[in-house]
């Protein structure tokens, strides 16, 4: 065992954590054991070390016994390391001369065997004592925070966050990929469970964003690069050409009316038409149209120019080019939203093959007053359906596709059923697995629908077919499912089938995650820092996530997260400066051979190569202390502060002997 012959005075505090630790670990015995370890001058066990009296006890010992090192054996450092570091610092000791030994998550919670747990706790405490002997005092550096904020995604989440931040007087850059903000919510007809019109509550907010003096709106744009560190990022934004001068355009809509070319509208899921020069929908913000280069006759055939002729302001500019702007920001909120599940992937449901099988999003456009049918729910032949089946969980709760529950489908399916009943008076069948009505007013809405004469059939649908087996099925779509309440297979003939498609990570979520150096969970959504205690933070300080890009969410939850992310950002800005964790990599220049292996490996782009001196250099603000470079360096020239070789070896040796 390596024992440094230095007169360190170590205090060890073994926490009971109520009964969390004391139930399986003999805390008194562990404290007695610790007292016999080298350099330990005091060892106590205490019921709640994190409490005020517990912290006071440590501070008192530091003062009275002149402790130079402190070990607390309690919970995970994620839980209370900051607490105890503050306590130690409060008594005048450098907070990094402290080590936490986790005897709860890694010991007492994982066994029922008291004897073994106590032995294990002793080993963990022993290792911490040996390690702390070699700790060095470290300085925490501070960097100023740029108060400007980048928000990516102009759906309801991004809109909410942007307005909250801008209203507090801070500058916001809101980047949206589409020609208009509004996101999915702009395409919805009504919202559950209140059935209020989506546009009526959304468009005023969109207008506020468009007019806000503190919001710089960058639509038809995306972030191509994002670098820097908390408080001091730089975002590179690509502005795709609209071929219209935004300064000159008044949004009068003349060009749209006169454009001779109609193509299927993406906004209407291809059910309606738009022009080659278009705004996705009449309330679009900004009101400036875009020219669709792929279809526009001028771009494809070099003719037409009707829009140029009719534009009263001369705003059409076919020569416009893609532009890049770089903006310095202190923080970023990702609110990039979701994609809907592609119904065609489940072949047995016939989407794309059977004309009257539609998705719920297509239904939203059908039933929308300003949609392609003026709000009439009709079949492909223009007739009103007499019966409609709604299939839940399409692509969700299915190990062939997505295992998770998409959370919104049960409720929007109820809303769909209500709207079908309202507009067609037809028969409605809901095929569900379980009804999940968890939110405020949701269960009541479910009850309401039960009373609205909608037939609920509990059973996952096996297939939708146009092959009839009886005269009542002739010319109909037949939904085949096992009714698990009756225990029989049912064949229900209907005119229209609506697939309640689930929510998925956006197709480009991986690219966005790479750009912002954040992680994704197994299902592909962005990973939050902590599912309960840090739901909108990410592993990258200063980068936050909100809304459905983090996981399926309904509108209330998305808005709440947008506001939560805004609060996090404002709190960061008002701190004015941020502290940087000193557990970072340090390069010993004498040993560095300049091989650049670490430069390539660093996942945070924190290491640069100084060509003149032929040395690698670590940017202290960017380094996250992951240790990859330390392990990879062939000449052992890199050491991580607070995780030095000496500290780790001492810890390992203590456990192994």
């Amino acid at each position: 065992m390596v024992v440094r012959e230095l007169p360190e005075k170590i205090g060890v505090y073994v926490c009971h954590c109520g009964t969390n630790i004391a139930r399986t670990v003999d805390c008194k015995a562990v404290a007695e054991y610790a007292l016999r370890l080298p350099n330990v001058v005091v060892a106590r066990d205490y019921q709640y070390t994190c409490s005020d009296p517990g912290q006071e006890m440590i501070r008192k010992d530091i003062g009275e016994l002149g402790l130079t090192r402190v070990v607390v054996a309690s919970c995970s450092p994620l839980m209370h390391e900051p607490t105890f570091r503050r306590a130690v610092a409060g008594a005048g000791l450098n907070p990094f001369l402290f080590q936490m030994a986790n005897i709860r998550e890694q010991c007492s919670w994982i066994t029922e065997d008291k004897e073994l747990a106590t032995e294990r706790a002793k080993a963990i405490v022993g290792a911490a004592v040996m390690r702390v002997t070699f700790h060095e005092p470290l300085e925490v550096k501070k960097v100023p925070v740029n108060p400007d904020v980048l928000i990516v995604g102009g759906g309801i989440t991004g809109i909410e966050a942007a307005l909250q931040i801008a209203d507090s007087g801070k500058k916001v850059y809101l980047v949206e990929k589409e020609p208009s903000i509004g996101g999915y919510m702009a395409r919805f007809d009504k919202t559950f469970p209140t059935l209020d019109c989506a546009a009526c509550i959304l468009t005023p907010k969109m207008v506020s964003v468009g007019q806000h003096p503190n919001i710089e709106l960058l639509t038809y744009s995306d972030v191509t690069d994002f670098s820097g560190y908390v408080g001091n990022f730089t975002a590179r934004i690509r502005k795709r050409p609209r071929y219209i001068d935004e300064e000159k355009c008044t949004g009068c809509g003349q060009c749209e009316q006169k454009c001779p070319l109609s193509v299927p509208s993406e906004f209407d899921c291809g059910l309606g038409k738009r022009k080659a020069i278009y705004r996705p929908f009449p309330q679009a913000v900004p009101g400036t149209p875009v020219i669709d280069r792929e279809h526009c006759l001028y771009f494809t055939k070099g003719v037409c120019k009707v829009c140029v002729k009719f534009c009263p302001k001369g705003a059409i500019d076919f020569e416009q080019k893609e532009k890049f702007v770089e903006v310095p920001v202190g923080s970023a909120i990702l609110a990039t939203g979701f994609d809907v599940f592609d119904g065609a992937r489940i072949k047995e449901y016939g989407y794309g093959r059977l004309p009257n099988v539609i998705t719920s999003l297509e239904f939203e456009r059908l039933t929308h007053a300003s949609g392609p049918t003026g709000g009439n729910v009709v079949l492909k032949n223009g007739k009103t359906p007499e019966s409609v089946a709604i299939i839940h969980c399409v692509g969700s709760r299915d190990h062939n596709y997505n295992e998770y529950c998409s959370r919104v489908c049960c409720m929007y399916s109820l809303k769909t059923a209500h709207l079908v009943r309202e507009k067609t008076a037809g028969k409605v069948y809901e095929f569900y697995i379980d009804m999940r009505a968890f939110g405020k007013g949701y269960e009541e809405f479910y009850k309401r629908l039960l009373e609205e004469d909608v037939t609920f059939i509990r059973g996952r649908v096996a297939e939708v077919t146009d092959v009839s087996e009886s005269t009542s099925e002739k010319g109909k779509l037949v939904v085949v499912a096992e009714d698990t309440l009756l225990g029989i297979v049912r064949r229900v003939p209907v005119d229209m089938v609506i697939l309640s498609v689930g929510l998925e990570p956006r197709r480009d979520a991986l690219d966005v995650a790479h750009t912002f150096s954040i992680s994704r969970s197994k299902d592909g959504f962005f990973l939050e820092k902590h599912p309960k205690l840090a739901p909108v933070s990410t592993a990258v300080d200063g980068v936050f996530v909100a809304g459905a890009c983090q996981g399926p969410k309904d509108i209330p939850d998305s808005v709440a997260q947008g506001a939560a992310a805004a609060a996090n950002v404002l709190s960061l800005i008002d701190r004015k400066a941020v502290e940087l964790e000193p557990a970072i990599a340090v390069i010993n220049e004498a040993s560095c051979s300049g091989c650049k292996i670490c430069v390539e490996l660093c996942p945070y782009h924190a290491i640069t190569y100084d060509g003149e001196r032929k040395l690698a250099a670590v940017n202290e603000a960017l380094c996250k202390g992951c240790g990859v470079c330390v392990a990879a360096c062939p000449s052992s020239a890199i050491e991580q502060q607070n995780f030095t070789n000496r500290q780790l070896v001492a810890e390992i040796e203590a456990i192994c002997t």
Partner: protein
């Protein structure tokens, strides 16, 4: 326009693909024509099939339900033989495909089963280490041989012949390794290469009645009728099969369907290899086409008459 084969260059590129061939029990008996056509077509496509020496029952259907482990043992013996040959094992019967694939997968996933089966195989000095690859001939032709080579072989395209592509239940299910489980399109693709028109066939993976034809004929005949009816309704002049059992049910029991339901189906049923062979210009006899019960003579005559008259024009 059909691509003209570039003789000299093509020859050079043509390297024979080597496979082990597992015919299975049915093509040795009731479905001889399937085997006949398969061998002729494979030869034409430079697929070199070497019949697996000393192969045995694949362990299909009933045995799996009665004694799973012993069924796996039967299947594994074939896999062990194939593994030694170090060539992909080609099958034509989807039941063989499913059973052999199932044993291959289960032995890979379940160490207990692997030990038990290998202990039994060990009695004859055999072992299965998981190295065999079982493939259906359809997938080999579509993926390995490919469009260019198939088209280059065509002498008498099946112009405008409307075919219902019938996959049956087991080609893609349960594993879905080669195509979509519920709505495959591989056979559709191959048929269109031959100049034929595959029709929309919504029942393409639905049950033909299977073994039920032996135990509850009326129920099975109902299922067969559904297939024939849907094929007719969608404008098919014939049905292409790739499963010996489907083929028997659709063809040999068509008379019984007509008797039971008062229908008058007269739909020729052809193995996909027979259709390939016909398009390649082989004689009806060499492909066993004349062995069938529902004659396709008139249908094929019409198809080629159309083709030839188009050529003349």
């Amino acid at each position: 326009m059909r691509e003209q084969p570039q003789r000299g260059r093509n020859r050079k590129l043509q390297s024979q693909v080597q496979f082990s061939y597992y015919p299975g029990c049915s093509v040795e008996g009731m479905n001889k024509a399937y085997d006949k056509a398969t061998r002729v077509v494979c030869k034409a496509l430079d697929i070199n099939l070497t019949e697996l020496t000393d192969w045995n029952c694949c362990g299909a259907t009933s045995y799996m339900a009665i004694n799973e482990q012993r069924a796996h043992l039967l299947s594994a013996r074939n896999l062990a033989l194939a593994e030694k040959e170090k060539k992909d094992l080609v099958v034509v019967c989807p039941a063989c495909l499913t059973t052999l694939t199932k044993t291959h997968r289960y032995m890979g996933e379940d160490p207990k089963l692997r030990r038990a089966v290998n202990a039994a195989l060990g009695a004859t000095g055999m072992q299965y280490q998981g190295g065999a690859r079982v493939r259906h001939l359809l997938e080999v032709i579509v993926n390995e041989v490919g469009e260019g080579k198939v088209k280059a072989r065509i002498k008498k395209p099946l112009t405008n012949l409307t075919v219902a592509p019938y996959y049956g239940c087991q080609l893609t299910r349960p594993f879905g390794e080669i195509d979509d489980k519920e709505f495959p399109t591989m056979l559709d693709k191959l048929l269109s290469w031959l100049g034929a028109k595959p029709v929309n066939f919504p029942l393409k993976t639905k049950c033909c009645g299977g073994m039920l034809m032996m135990t509850n004929e009326d129920v099975a005949l109902g299922l067969t009728r559904n297939l024939l009816e849907s094929a007719k309704q969608n404008g098919a002049e014939c049905i292409a099969t790739l499963c010996p059992l489907c083929h028997i049910n659709l063809e040999a029991y068509q008379g019984n369907v007509n008797k039971l339901f008062g229908t008058d189906f007269n739909v020729p049923i052809l193995y996909f290899t027979q259709l390939l062979g016909l398009a390649f210009g082989f004689s009806r006899k060499s492909l066993g086409v004349d062995d069938e019960l529902t004659s396709s003579k008139r249908l094929l005559k019409k198809t080629w008459w159309l083709y030839e008259s188009c050529q003349k024009r």
